[in-house]
């Protein structure tokens, strides 16, 4: 029998992991994105590299996502 409060807590924890890391990633991407657009105004050929640089902070939210996945698919079923 799964403890409903415990399960809910795990759900919330997963949500916080993704949500908070998403905000953090967004903050990083904001600065890089605007700088990349600035370079593109000078040199349109930078588009590809700019796009890749902009997604670099995405690692943060991906780690959040990994934590959430482990919580939901590994920890929760074992409860």
């Amino acid at each position: 029998m799964v403890d409903p409060i415990g399960a809910g807590m795990i759900g919330l924890a997963a949500a916080i992991a993704v949500g908070a890391s998403g905000i953090a990633a967004a903050m990083g991407e904001q600065a890089i994105g605007s700088a990349a657009i600035g370079v593109m105004a000078e040199d349109e050929g930078f588009f590809g590299r700019g796009l890749v640089m902009t997604v670099i902070p995405e690692s943060i939210v991906i780690f959040g996502l990994v934590v959430a996945l482990i919580l939901l698919f590994v920890t929760l079923p074992r409860l």
Binding site: G48, R49, L51, V52, V55, I56, E58, S59, I62, F63, L65, V66, L69, I70, F73, V74
Partner: protein, 637 residues
């Protein structure tokens, strides 16, 4: 395959009498990358362009302006090619005639434009007062009467000043248009009163007649002029169709001739001789050498510079890969071209990029969509960059389909097996993603370790060729030792920690730690103590590969959500709701496909650029730009 094209440094020298012939040969071959000569000295001066260069570029400019008027962009496909000879003899007078014909039509159009504008402007002026039946000449020429025409807010109230006036008024826009006639004596007072009502004066055109009649008269004129303008534009279109072949060919011819005429600007010259330095793909060397010799009767020679100095100079880089892997060059070019003694990573990306992409997207339906979109792009679009990306897309889509079978997913729906859509088909051992998150996380970290190791091995090779064995051991082998030592140690320690049994030192653990310590020592020897600061990046590099699962599961989650929602909200209700449900499915999966392509594509690229390339790749190679031109609209005899 792993190396850029082999280049030889060449020096071409000869007497100035044969410079033009030499330029023609080099240009026609389109293979020699000329190094600009910039350091003038007492003996060697920068060459002067041939005198026709100025004339040619002037003609090119007037031709471009004609092309601009005729709306010729310069990339059109045309059927006829012109020979260089036929262009050479005719182009001067032809440009003159074209200029005359086109500017005649253009001038006519602009005259018509200004006439049309004139009448429409007048109509705009007359529009507010069109309901007043006062002829325009009645608004002016009085000695004792002042006239105010304009737009005011609210109703006119000047009765406290005088009642001796004539007023026409009608609502217009957000106020009233008035035409007010008052004795001159009250002019200033009335004007002040009107200003308080925000008078916006309307100027009356200096023509005669009743506004309403004038407006309809002008409308007729405008439509007449407009149809004339249409016929003139059709004339222009006719001119465009008639001359497009010729203009494109001539533009190309002028560009080529200008480039040839200006070529000596990159040469070193003395009073009677010239010298060109450059690079040529080694396999083309003999052919060009022979041709120069033949054409100039041995008055110009092409020699190879094998000096030490040449070897360390900036070698231009032309990537050389077999056709199947060629599309992946676009990623290398976007990052940075390799140096001449560096390994070209295109072939690695050919294997790993679609593999990572498919691992993330992993859905039969989405895979088919990616292949279909890529095939259409490749078939319909001419842009080289997009075609290359589409080529990559086809590989990536096919691998996604393969992983779709492994994950057993079709647009997020289970296909085979007892829970699947096609339950009558026997379920081979599939790996559903939602049930195997932990296993997949481990698998991706292992993949990451393999990928990083490959990076270090390639890095070892690069360092070995560039700086020798010792440097390669210190900077690359060190990291490999740390990586594997660390992995062994963590694999042994982690289960002990999760069991809470405390760490017991086994021989495996000691061996792992020893490897790592040796690695760290090498690292410090190679890069100094500061190298230790880089150690944590290794862990985050390995963990970074877990994105292969998390992005995949997130994308599969969105697909599942789209399916479940459209089923619960619409499809289960049947009837009309089926249509809504279908629309939601299409829109949802379209968005998820776009997200899936963008995210899987970018993250796979990122794993290469950030995690993989940093282990071995420096780049910074110079782009190979051969002196010459690929003719499209013209042909040489």
């Amino acid at each position: 395959m792993f190396k850029p094209q082999e280049m030889s440094k060449v020096i071409i020298a000869g007497t100035k009498d044969y410079m033009k012939a030499a330029i023609d040969v080099l240009y026609a071959h389109d293979v020699v990358h000329i190094t600009e000569f910039s350091e003038e000295s007492e003996d060697f001066k920068i060459g002067t362009p041939y005198p026709e260069a100025t004339k040619l570029s002037e003609q090119a400019i007037s031709l471009r302006s004609i092309a601009n008027y005729l709306n010729i962009k310069g990339k059109e496909d045309v059927s006829t090619k012109y020979t260089v000879d036929s262009l050479e003899t005719t182009f001067n007078e032809k440009i003159e005639r074209l200029n005359f014909e086109v500017s005649k039509v253009i001038q006519k159009i602009s005259e018509l434009d200004s006439q049309i504008k004139d009448f429409t402007d007048k109509n705009k002026q007359l529009d507010p007062i069109k309901s007043f039946d006062i002829p325009l000449e009645m608004y002016r020429g009085y000695e004792s009467i002042a006239v105010f025409v304009g737009l005011i807010k609210g109703q006119l109230s000047i009765d406290n000043i005088t009642t001796d006036y004539y007023l026409e008024s009608t609502p217009y826009s957000r106020g009233n248009v008035i035409a007010l006639f008052v004795p001159k004596a009250f002019e200033t007072e009335v004007f002040t009163a009107l200003q308080e009502q925000n008078l916006a004066a309307i100027s009356i055109p200096e023509i005669e007649g009743v506004p309403k009649e004038l407006i309809s008269e002008f409308d007729v004129k405008v439509s007449g002029l407009e149809s004339e303008r249409e016929t003139t534009r059709a004339d222009l279109k006719k001119l465009q169709q008639e001359y497009i072949d010729y203009i494109l060919a001539l533009d190309e011819y002028l560009l080529i001739e200008t480039q040839k005429a200006e070529a000596p600007l990159n040469f070193a010259t003395t009073k009677n001789t010239f010298i060109v330095e450059g690079w040529i793909p080694t396999k083309r060397l003999e052919q060009v050498q022979g041709d120069i010799d033949d054409t100039t009767n041995g008055q110009c020679v092409l020699g190879i510079d094998k000096s030490e100095a040449a070897a360390v100079e900036k070698v231009p880089i032309a990537l050389e890969n077999p056709i199947p892997t060629k599309p992946y060059e676009v990623f290398i070019k976007a990052f940075s071209l390799p140096k001449f003694n560096e390994i070209d990573p295109t072939t690695f990306m050919f294997f790993w990029y679609p593999f990572f992409f498919g691992l993330m997207l992993g859905d039969i339906g989405y895979g088919i969509t990616v292949v279909a979109i890529s095939a259409i792009v490749r078939w319909k679009i001419k842009s080289r960059g997009l075609r290359a990306l589409a080529g990559v897309g086809i590989y990536a889509g096919v691998v996604s389909i393969v992983f779709g079978f492994i994950y057993n997913e079709f647009f997020g729906v289970e296909v085979f097996g007892e829970r699947g859509l096609l339950s009558f088909i026997y379920a081979y051992p599939t790996i559903p993603r939602f049930d195997n998150v932990l296993n997949l996380l481990i698998v991706t970290m292992v993949l990451g370790i393999i990928h990083l190791s490959l990076g270090y091995v390639v890095g070892f090779k690069n360092e070995y060729t560039q700086h020798g064995l010792k440097h390669a051991v210190y900077t690359k082998l060190s990291w490999l030792l740390i990586l594997y030592g660390g992995v062994i140690a963590i694999v042994i320690i982690l289960p002990q920690l999760t069991r809470g049994s405390g760490i017991s030192f086994s021989s495996g653990l000691v061996a792992g730690l020893a490897l790592a310590v040796i690695g760290v020592i090498f690292l410090i020897l190679g890069e100094g103590v500061i190298g230790i600061a880089e150690l944590p990046s290794l862990l985050s590099n390995v963990l970074s590969y877990t994105r292969l699962v998390s992005i995949g599961v997130a994308s599969a989650g969105i697909a599942l959500a789209v399916n479940k929602l459209s089923d619960a909200l619409f499809i289960s209700k049947g009837g009309f709701f089926l249509i809504l449900g279908a629309l939601m499915l299409i829109a949802g999966h379209a968005i998820n496909t776009a997200l899936g392509i963008l995210d899987s594509g970018l993250q796979s690229l990122r794993l290469h650029y950030v995690e993989f390339f940093t282990k071995f790749y420096r780049g910074g190679g110079l782009k190979y730009k051969p002196f010459g031109f690929e003719r499209k609209y013209t042909e040489e005899k």
